[in-house]
Symmetry: D2
Subunit: 503 residues, 4 copies
């Protein structure tokens, strides 16, 4: 038994909810996307949202034209405004990523993804700077300077990969960053700009990027990188399988930038992990499982010690990097499927959102917090075996002594997600894996996605509850203990319900 | 094991949903009432709604005034229109009950209920007839004759009780009925009028009423009565306890009118049980229990054989006959509490609403139906002991062989309500019986009110599934079996989820 | 022409929106009421709401019972919570009025209104104090102390009238106030309590009340009174006609308490006019007219100089003091009719809600304000003749020179309400005064209730617009001038719309 | 004066609302699109909707893959289902257009539009037939055969233009049609298939197409073509200007197919004008004007005599054939702009939707209908000069004698749209043509888009009203005359409003 202290060990960091990822920004025009984001914000409440393609052609921003023989540019925000208006209305702010290249401004034709984002440098850095300034001026004008100063601005995405940045040309990225950072600061010196948004496997880039900005006195308000733990893709039609490293590998990656910058002038800069997940593939069925929630639970519980944010890639399966999904469950990154079916990892986030601000305890299988009104909340999870060599233990016991500031009894509310509960994907497979579920089947899936719940009273002794939890394979569970005020009238006697004699 | 035949035994009667009861009509102006009715209609879908007080002062219909020295009457429908507009917008039609007496038209001052409905005869039968005609003409004018012809019109309520009709004066009721029925038919000969709306314990009234209408050639389009099974009230503060007779007593009462009218000219008249429940008290906690759902399950399954409708009294705890409720759970009649917490009996109705139109089998603990798309639906319930002498069996097995028109496997979806599941009242007692639950507590109660769900595959052999159900104490359970089409791709191999070798 | 200064003369007081009146609190359970309040809050945004009957029987708060031979009291908040939850959800706070007397606590049987509020002193001042404490403790417990401290608490209503307080017994009121104020402060010393809520015509009461509280050291956090300008009622069926004094009489009454308290210890106390209107009758058709809006316009524009609030009696026609209304337009107090048809006086408030925080000018027929973004807003109104001897001028010119911080042009948006525009009552009379309008007729009324709008450009010279407004009889008009940025592209040429030659 | 007969001349054809056009089907995933369609359906109520790109890559239907060395095809309906579910939920049905070519099935790389629809023939007609069958089978399976039989199925779009069909190869189109029609009928013989969906200027195609189907015994259930009246485009940046022919040119085109097929075996086939508008350009500002509504009014009034449907191209500015719009008003086809600002032509349709089923009269400037409840509805319009040589008359009088089955008076309700009223584009230009209007500006635009309304009484003589309407330039007006029942009480005397003496 672990005795949870009654004194808080500290605050629960908000880093887990600081940001979430999204498919390309243009998708924010879609209704299913907005329905999913609306649900997510109601039940989880992320602070910022980050995705690719803000400046790609689908958003229609960069619009050169000829008039009276001269070439000019309209910067047009028809869709940008629709998207950002939606975000703010849902209480979420952009984490701006500046990219990719408008075709008319691009120096080449290389594209990435099914939706063909151009990944070549600008043919004119001056015009690119103009585009950046016009975009930020418009945003400041429409939403106010105080608002836009809270939006981090990241330059490009994973320039260390040749798929994302032509030739993975580091020098060209440094130039792009320099031009961009200055353009941003011309609009307002307090706008926050950063990079280099690298993928795992190129850690040196961050060191050289920091040195470059120092050497050249280029503004830098934060650094960013990504984190993934999957091995190479083994393809099947419309899907992949991959090995996974242990979840601690994510924490290891989260911690890298601070370690790298220690002792430098940049040591105090905010660190944003602007993408993370297990697999980097949007067609890996592991994303849909209870395993995945249990795998990530310790990461969410501890990641805030290592970085200022870590942004789950992505909140919704409305995502098209490798094309339009061919089945409801297809291994997408989303916390939610199309049509808002909650996956187990969604519940992990929703459970985190119900934790309190005071952190009382944290262990390898649990996190305990307290709310200002005295409620104590426990998130517990079963250990997993990411090698797949064993199925993981089929039960796991957690035994905690919990301080509850009350006498008599506490009210216990438990929510459970495991292989059979809160697990629409399991129900979907039982149903025969219908690629296009009908209305009635979707009802069943929404129903199956609800966590199992139970409620009971727990006796208190000396201001403590003895909490024994048995977790099933791959279970994550949320327990809420509330000090109980008993208003049951003295004359209540359940035995008299059917007219029997009072005892 | 019971072998359910593949051929339908008949249609499942709609009598259980033909009508539902409501607190006095004026309450339909309330928001909580409309929120509850809206939920009820979405998930259950009653056809008609019946309550007291359409003509009572709170509705403001009968409005005498003096002008130029003469006394005249406005018939005013400000609130009637708001109520009926709401009903029709929610897809439910009035089952009109004409009563009680406007104070200005009353011959005496006797009232019933906390809200003081006047229960004395009219001081002028001519003015009463004028009120009836004006009301129906207005409804026909506003909603159309085709519509209003579908609304049964019942004359008064429980005139056999001196609390409801001054002196329980049978002759005075016959006169009231005669005047009213003629007034109704003056508006349109095809409007449907009936009575005598008697409470249990006065069965002779119905016989004499039928004879009276025959003798005097008074229009009579249906007969009506009520059914309850509770014994005398043992009072505690803000509550009562009562013994209950067996549920079969309700079916016995449902069947009485047809037996009484057999062989008479009225033998073919529709029979409406315009109120039924176990206890007739709105403060008996039995209404809030899983016991109650299991107790009534066989009544809903079989009642349609005996009467054209039986109207549960009432859909919502928004009800004030003995005053404003002092706690969220207070033993009210409602299927829903204030603020729309579903009770077990609500789920019984919601389960019935998911049964199919073809009745395949019915037993003492089950009802089996089929939908046109091949789904087979089973409602099963645990037997209860209404004497309270035993707690009832703590488990009950139901074993059925179900015909499913498919090969391979069926998809099974089960919803369970018992002492611990789908049972907000149990959670509320665990919580300390908070009389005015706060927002967070209401969330827990809504969550606790959800039935437990499970989903799995069931093998089929020779077009049959072997369904073994174990029910807990006081459980009602709904099982839906769907023929399964398996779209799982041939390459799917769960063992490869974590990158393992294909088998 | 009046030259509006470019420098603000001061802030526009919020007193006009600090509070609004409502029919008895129980009506807040109704859907139509909530729909109306929701609209009102969206378009006007009052801060507080005050009505009678919080403690009357319809709210079910005071609930004595016997148990084991002893008499005890439950204080029950089933409905109070539903109402206050609704208010806060709509962004409006209670202005608590403590009254009337629960029947079981009353010393007599005298009632007021169709809905029978008991207006007799408590039979036990100790039990009354217990009721007050229990109510406030519950509210503090449920909504938090910080919240409830912002709710003024007024003791009783118009005790100077024998209809509202048995015998208009001043000494008995002082006693009630003393007991109540102490009970309030026992719950928390910072709760705000006040009185005496007198009607016009008893000004001395306020002086003696202030002296009494000083002499006895009774807590007093604000003083309150009411203001009306109508003469005696001339009855017709379901209506009255009354003469009206000039609107300045309202301002005169608003100013009385400060004048009366000048030089006393209470000179700095907040003054709340907790009810005001022209006529005090809920069946005077003047409330439904454009005349009424124009009559009150100068009162809203200037009242904030004289009192801390003045609360329009009432926001909605959902009001039953003299019974259920018999027609849609019936002279009710409401800014809105049943079913949310906006009256001209509603628009007056909605126009006020669009005024800016800086007051630039105020005259006998206009008020000019500015928003922080540079928009200048003008409310103008036609003078009225409240004697009815003349119809009032059929046109009225307002000519203002308005400072607008821009070059070139301003965008002008004008909204008009007069006898023919924004005037559903006029359309209703054209329609034949249908007492129960049908759905289609309600659509027309909602449409007819929309103000007339026009939009144009206005040239600026030296940072000023020359604004000439012609107002029709009984018109109120809102003009908004916005500095204009012209994004029209240089190639735009309307003459080419149909393919014509460029000019 | 024109004396409108009291006897109906016939039914008002529904052809004007049978179908409406849409930007490519993929856009139906967007929220703004659905918001616009939802408004349109609520206020207009089209029956069918037709757009391009159902089978284009953006919808993700045709999905070849390799498995165990073989190439196979998934037909995937993830997005098709989301779109069709949305349509049906809004009460509108698909008018299916089969096209364009999935890249993986295409024989070439030619594309049309900014969004790059492939317009080359299939590389395998067998695979194309498989795609058609799979699509229709899926739709039948999901939505039911009865439903899908009501959806016309059109083969390709404007094959007579080389932009839309590689080489405008007529023979290749005939082959495509033949293969497609047979594939459709293989799914169900009662599905409705047709073509050739030609643009104006290729009338012979229709004759040869009809002959071809007859010669080859190819199924043909309807014929279709398009109609436009604009001249060549004169480009300006982000816009064009074009001359327009007279509106009668549209009626002329509507009538062509029936004339062409007269006397042939196909004479009785339904004729669908599957696109029509004035200009065929989505950047012609004429679409946004009051002129456009007045220009099209006679077409909507009379088109039903000539064809079974004529489908306005398109309901919303959410349309991307030439790219993302750069300003709110940009000359788009839409009845609605982005963000649901109603254009004058939207009102023309909304006015049509309020006409009655009985047609009483039709003239060069008016259409008169009657509803079953006796309301008489008049749509009147001012004549326009499409040459632009004159601005059109600045006023136009319409004088009608209207039969109204009532005595005394009628209630008149008039809605007006002209250069200044119901005309958000005019307000937008006054505002400075803001390309990205802010929230407050959008409010003004929505307000400015409301038609002007007036209401009054009109005397009747011998069952007739003398209706004199003066129309402003480019005005369309809707007048509704309702028989009036006067419920004004005899004691009502407006002169007593302010307490004056009764007369």
């Amino acid at each position: 038994m672990i005795r949870v202290p009654a004194e808080a060990a500290g605050r629960l960091s908000d880093a887990w909810r600081y940001s979430v990822g999204t498919g390309r920004i243009e998708l924010a025009l879609r209704r299913d996307y907005i329905d999913s984001l609306s649900l997510t914000q109601r039940e989880i409440g992320f602070r910022h949202i980050r995705g690719h393609g803000l400046l790609s052609d689908g958003m229609g921003v960069y619009r050169p034209y000829d008039h009276k023989g001269a070439r000019r540019v309209h910067h047009s925000f028809t869709y940008v405004d629709q998207v950002v208006d939606s975000y703010l209305a849902l209480g979420i702010r952009p984490f701006l990523e500046l990219g990719f290249m408008p075709a008319e401004l691009a120096s080449g034709e290389q594209t990435v993804f099914w939706w063909r984002g151009n990944v070549t440098p600008p043919r004119s850095h001056q015009d690119w700077a103009g585009l950046v300034r016009a975009t930020l001026r418009h945003l400041v004008d429409r939403y106010g300077l105080d608002e836009v100063r809270t939006w981090p601005i990241e330059v490009w995405n994973e320039p260390n990969l040749p798929d994302f940045w032509q030739g993975a040309d580091e020098k060209a990225y440094h130039l792009l960053y320099e031009v961009t950072a200055h353009a941003v600061k011309e609009v307002d010196a307090d706008l926050q700009v950063g990079g280099p948004a690298i993928s795992p496997g190129a850690d040196d880039w961050l060191v050289r990027f920091a040195e470059f900005t120092e050497d050249r006195e280029v503004p830098l308000d934060f650094v960013s990188r990504h984190a993934y733990t999957s091995g190479p893709a083994q393809h099947v039609p419309f899907g992949v399988h991959q090995t996974l490293g242990p979840a601690s590998g994510l924490l290891e990656q989260f911690g890298t930038p601070r370690r790298q910058l220690q002792g430098t002038r940049h040591a105090e800069l905010p660190v944003h992990i602007t993408e993370f997940n297990s697999s980097y593939r949007p067609d890996n069925p592991v994303h849909d499982t209870a395993f995945h929630a249990a795998y990530l639970a310790p990461v969410l519980a501890a990641g805030g010690d290592l970085a200022d944010s870590f942004s789950y890639w992505t909140f919704s399966d409305m995502f098209e990097e490798i094309g339009v999904p061919t089945a409801l469950f297809h291994g997408g990154f989303g916390l939610l499927t199309h049509r808002q079916v909650r996956k187990p990892t969604y519940h992990l986030y929703a459970f985190m959102a119900r934790m309190g601000p005071e952190r009382l305890a944290r262990g390898h299988d649990h996190l305990v917090t307290r709310h200002s009104d005295g409620r104590v909340t426990v998130l517990a999870w079963a250990p997993v075996d990411p090698t797949g060599e064993t199925p993981g233990p089929d039960r796991h016991d957690v035994h905690l002594s919990i301080p509850v500031a009350a006498r008599g009894e506490a009210f216990l509310r438990r929510s459970t997600v495991d292989e059979e509960h809160g697990n629409a994907c399991t129900a979907w497979r039982h149903m025969g894996s219908p690629r296009s579920p009908r209305a009635g089947q979707l009802d069943v899936l929404h129903e199956a996605a609800e966590p199992a719940r139970s409620h009971r009273r727990l006796p208190l002794a000396d201001g403590r509850a003895d909490l024994r939890l048995t977790l099933a394979r791959h279970e994550i569970t949320l327990v809420e203990l509330t000090p109980l005020t008993d208003e049951t009238p003295p004359w209540w006697d359940e035995r008299r319900l059917l007219g029997g004699e009072a005892s």
